[in-house]
């Protein structure tokens, strides 16, 4: 079973529910009972259903749209198109380049063209079928290289290259005595959250405002884009977080928000949308497919002297966060290794594919698959093993990235590797121990219940992956989080707009308040836009950012309380501290419970937490563009059936640099969940597009890791509190899915090599059976 080796270091026995303990989630009971309201569970009196008409073509001119038949269907209340958008016709996260509805041309299969509102989803379906759109098909741009070389006309007024970024660092002419290179491909992965996109919009009675309940990652960003499209002032657009069934990056962009509000405002009635799984594949951005060429130069003992790389990220039809994803990729090209010289050229391009944007790992996943594959090649070329090559090059605090930025955070790369290496390998032999009656448990062999594997043919391999991942937003973004703390009569109430998507911020927010204030009764206000922005639940940033804001708000309240208590009891407030649930004067020994001291007093503080500013990269890709970094190592063990190309991942061991585990059980949950998604990218998950159309947009054909696919995970938490983090804690969500993928692929390569002494390059993820056996 999963072993948690929790290296807590010196820790006083913390009061249950405070930082460092693992209290249950405040929403846990409701989620276990099925009474927690996800956004798809919301409705209102007189509510209508909405639905979206989408383009069947990757590239076409819209000649005409005829809504007349749809309007005549009984139960249809409204049909809207681009003509009905009162405000800004375009939205988008970094640049507003995506139309609310396509009007002149469509640029991907699935692009919205019209929306209907009706009394029932079935009526909606019939109304959509009755809308007649005449198209003139155009030649789609599907090859990212054509976007770069200019051989295809611009498919968007903003051009076909979303961003080009070069990094030139040190002596770009340097060469090494050992040179290895490869071209790596990463397939398009879907976030595949379980809770499908859904929203409920309730118009104000006067029609001058709207309340939108929606599952999103960033309420305030949605509000800004929405208000512009609706031509309403931001304060008239109020967002409330609808229960979020997972996110993983897919809810950072607008999907149904504008459509839902437009219809509700137009009709003066509540409107709800709920996507199906197939529509969800079309309705949100995906992980960028990428092609990455890399060449490493090293000296004979394996020290990296230069890296060269060219990266091409296919952004699909609209920009979304492609520019930022690209920057993450190029700036993480070296991985967690010292490297003084580099030349990297990166492109994020526009094509007529489904748009790509944020997914857990955000550009670093793609770069990591390339640099870790390269590290193994380098190890072979230098006659070193996978661990030794990585230890020789491991980055330390103070080392510089190829952008010139020094890594100022705790950087325990060497410890991540050594602690992972120290974790036990699986004790069971291939196929597991024999069952009680002397048989083999087929579930422990590749192919599982299919019983295709012959135990004698199965080979085992071990592989490594190590990663650096930036935390928070980069390149000069004004990144902040807001939190409010009220304390009255021994009860603390926290308010923030931080999207709880399952990660457990609601749990640690209360833990922080209990710790700082010495109060056990902490309540959480509704998550909505009635307070300032918390920024996005992405980039592994909320523990640091919103955690930092909650911490600061609680400290501000505490200091005010100390002043009052000091005055009332004639004690210098500077001598007061919180000890458990008491306020204590350490020098005199005076103590009183916080609840008692707080009687009749009330405090209310709202604060913003900001991290130190960052800068944009210059033309040579130089500049301190990132905020902070976390590190992780993964070691994977796989068993494969070389003849059938089947893989069973047997174990993943990991040591992760977490700074400080505020809630160790939640950290483990992030680690295991992230590794599952990394495993998915390694051997299972890929959105297949043919001629620009998704061919497997459903859970029968898009394969997700199940209980049977996930191996045992053994994790060590490396707790070296980061002095730059408000609570010493680094974000933990993304690193687990960054280097688990290359570790698993390396293990497959290792197993294959043991078969014939040569093996296969496996330069593409996900690895498919044919890549192994043919």
């Amino acid at each position: 079973m999963t072993v948690i080796d929790h290296d807590a270091g010196p820790r006083t026995s913390a009061r249950h529910g405070t930082v460092g303990t693992s209290p249950p989630r405040p929403d846990g009971d409701a989620k276990a009972q099925g009474s927690f309201a996800f956004s798809s569970d919301l409705s209102a009196d007189g509510c209508l259903w909405g639905a979206t008409l989408r383009s069947p073509y990757p590239s076409a001119r819209i000649v005409s749209i005829d809504l007349s038949v749809a309007f005549k269907i009984a139960g249809v209340e409204s049909v809207i198109t681009a003509d009905d958008v009162p405000g800004e016709a375009y939205y988008g996260l970094i640049s507003r380049d995506q139309p609310v509805f396509a009007s002149d041309v469509v640029r991907y299969v699935g692009e919205p063209i019209a929306a209907v509102a009706a009394d029932h989803p079935e009526t909606c379906r019939r109304a959509l079928a009755a809308i007649v759109v005449e198209y003139e098909e155009l030649e789609p741009l599907l090859d990212p290289e054509q976007a770069i070389d200019g051989s295809h006309h611009d498919i968007h007024p903003d051009g076909n290259v979303i961003r080009h970024q070069r990094i030139a660092c040190g002596d770009i002419e340097r060469t090494g005595s050992v040179v290895v290179e490869g071209t790596y491909e990463i397939g398009m992965q879907d976030q595949a959250f379980l809770g499908l996109e859904a929203a409920l919009a309730i118009p104000d009675p006067d029609g001058k405002g709207v309340e939108l309940h929606v599952a999103t990652q960033w309420l305030h960003e949605d509000r800004g884009q929405l208000a512009a499209c609706l031509a309403l002032p931001e304060e008239s657009v109020r967002l409330v977080l609808g229960g979020v069934g997972g996110a993983f990056g897919a809810r950072e962009d607008i999907s149904l928000q504008v459509h839902t509000c437009l219809l509700a405002l137009r009709l003066g009635r509540p409107v709800r949308f709920a996507y199906s799984r197939t529509e969800s594949f079309l309705g949100h951005v995906h992980r960028h497919p990428a092609t990455i060429w890399m060449r490493h130069h090293a000296d004979a003992d394996g020290q990296i002297v230069k890296i060269e790389s060219r990266m091409v990220f296919d952004g699909g039809a609209y920009a979304s966060t492609s520019a930022a994803v690209l920057i993450n990729a190029v700036t993480h090209a070296q991985g967690p290794y010292r490297c003084a010289n580099a030349v990297v050229d990166g492109y994020a391009v526009r094509t007529n594919s489904v748009p790509c944007g944020a997914m857990r790992g955000f550009g670093v996943v793609q770069a990591c698959f390339a640099h870790e594959s390269q590290m193994d090649k380098l190890a072979d070329a230098c006659g070193l093993n996978a661990v030794e090559i990585r230890l020789r090059n491991a980055m330390r605090t103070g080392d510089r990235l190829i952008t010139g930025q020094p890594v100022l955070n705790v950087a325990p790369v060497e410890r991540c590797i050594r602690d992972t290496a120290a974790l036990p390998l699986p004790t069971e032999p291939i196929g597991g121990n024999l069952t009680a009656n002397g048989g083999v448990d087929p579930m422990k062999l590749p192919g599982g219940a299919g019983r295709t594997a012959d135990r004698g043919d199965i080979v085992r391999g071990i592989g490594w992956g190590v990663a650096i991942k930036n935390l928070m937003y980069s390149e000069g973004f004004d990144d902040y989080a807001t939190a409010r703390c009220q304390l009255a009569d021994g009860v603390a109430t926290l308010k923030f707009a931080t999207a709880e998507v399952g990660q457990g911020f609601v749990t640690i927010a209360a833990q922080i308040a209990r710790t700082i204030l010495g109060i056990d009764d902490v309540r959480l206000d509704q998550i909505d836009t009635q307070i300032g922005s918390a920024g996005s639940t992405s980039a592994s940033r909320q523990t640091w950012m919103s955690g930092g804001a909650v911490d600061l708000a609680c400290r501000t309240v505490r200091e005010a309380m100390f002043v009052d208590v000091g005055r009332a009891h004639d004690i210098d407030p500077l001598r007061l501290v919180i000890d458990g649930t008491d306020i204590v004067d350490e020098s005199s020994g005076w103590r009183m419970s916080v609840a008692e001291a707080n009687a009749g007093l009330a405090y209310d503080e709202t604060v913003e937490y900001r991290h130190p500013p960052t800068v944009e990269l210059d033309e040579s890709g130089q500049g301190d563009c990132h905020t902070a970094f976390a590190f992780v190592a993964h070691r994977a063990v796989v068993d494969i059936d070389p003849e059938l190309g089947l893989v069973k991942v047997v174990q993943v061991a990991t040591a992760q640099d977490v700074g400080r585990a505020l809630n160790p059980l939640s950290v483990i949950g992030q680690i295991e969940g992230g590794i599952a998604q990394g495993l998915g990218l390694a051997v299972m998950e890929e959105i297949i597009q043919v001629d620009g159309a998704i061919r497997n947009g459903n859970f029968t054909d898009y394969l997700l890791p199940t209980f049977l696919d996930m191996p045992e995970v053994i994790a060590t938490l490396i707790e070296e509190p980061d002095p730059r983090a408000p609570l010493g804690a680094k974000g933990v969500g993304e690193p687990p899915c960054v280097s688990s993928t290359p570790a698993i692929v390396a293990a497959i390569r290792d197993a294959l090599r043991s078969v014939d002494g040569v093996g296969k390059p496996l330069a593409r993820v996900p690895v498919r059976p044919a890549d192994i056996c043919l």
Partner: protein, 166 residues
């Protein structure tokens, strides 16, 4: 809403519920959620792949998205809402909460229903049995580790308490 409407009764969580406005062939999932307001039953794929919609129909754990509601007439149906008296938690529910088996919680009602069914049939399942039995329930958040831990904890607690009763 149309002339194909069917009227039938379902036995759900110990109560007879009349379904008056369903269309012929409507899935049990849609009837439970949209007609009867049992929103603890979730849908995430409607292809029988994710298990979010799992309910008990008679003695069988079924994906309610794959079953016609009308075909369940006469069978006792148990959804997450009917596993325990209102406001209380079953042992499985309580341990799921404590053991970190819940993140976003979307998979949770279906999974908890499936775990009750599993432990009713196999009191002390092995790791392999847990994985095989629950393989029809996808969770995208947890990576399953804490869920398996929770199932084992419940099995041990039940075994301990039945030992104590002897």
């Amino acid at each position: 809403m149309n002339s194909d409407s069917e009227v039938f009764s379902l036995h759900i969580n110990g109560v007879v519920r009349e379904v008056t406005d369903s269309w012929l062939g409507e899935s049990l999932l849609d009837v439970l959620r949209d007609r009867l307001g049992l929103l603890g039953v979730k849908g995430a794929c409607e292809q029988g792949e994710c298990g979010s919609c799992s309910v008990m129909v008679g003695d069988s754990l079924l994906c309610s998205c794959l079953v016609m509601a009308a075909s369940a007439v006469g069978e006792p149906i148990v959804t997450i809402e009917g596993l325990t008296p209102e406001e209380t938690l079953s042992d499985v529910q309580a341990v799921f909460v404590e053991a970190g088996a819940i993140q976003c919680g979307f998979c949770t009602p279906g999974l908890i229903t499936a775990v009750h069914d599993l432990l009713d049939r196999i009191a002390i399942p092995t790791d392999s049995e847990i994985r095989e039995e629950l393989a029809g329930n996808v969770c995208r958040c947890t990576g399953y580790g804490r869920i398996i831990d929770a199932v084992q904890q419940v099995a041990v607690r039940r075994a301990d308490s039945s030992d104590g009763a002897l």
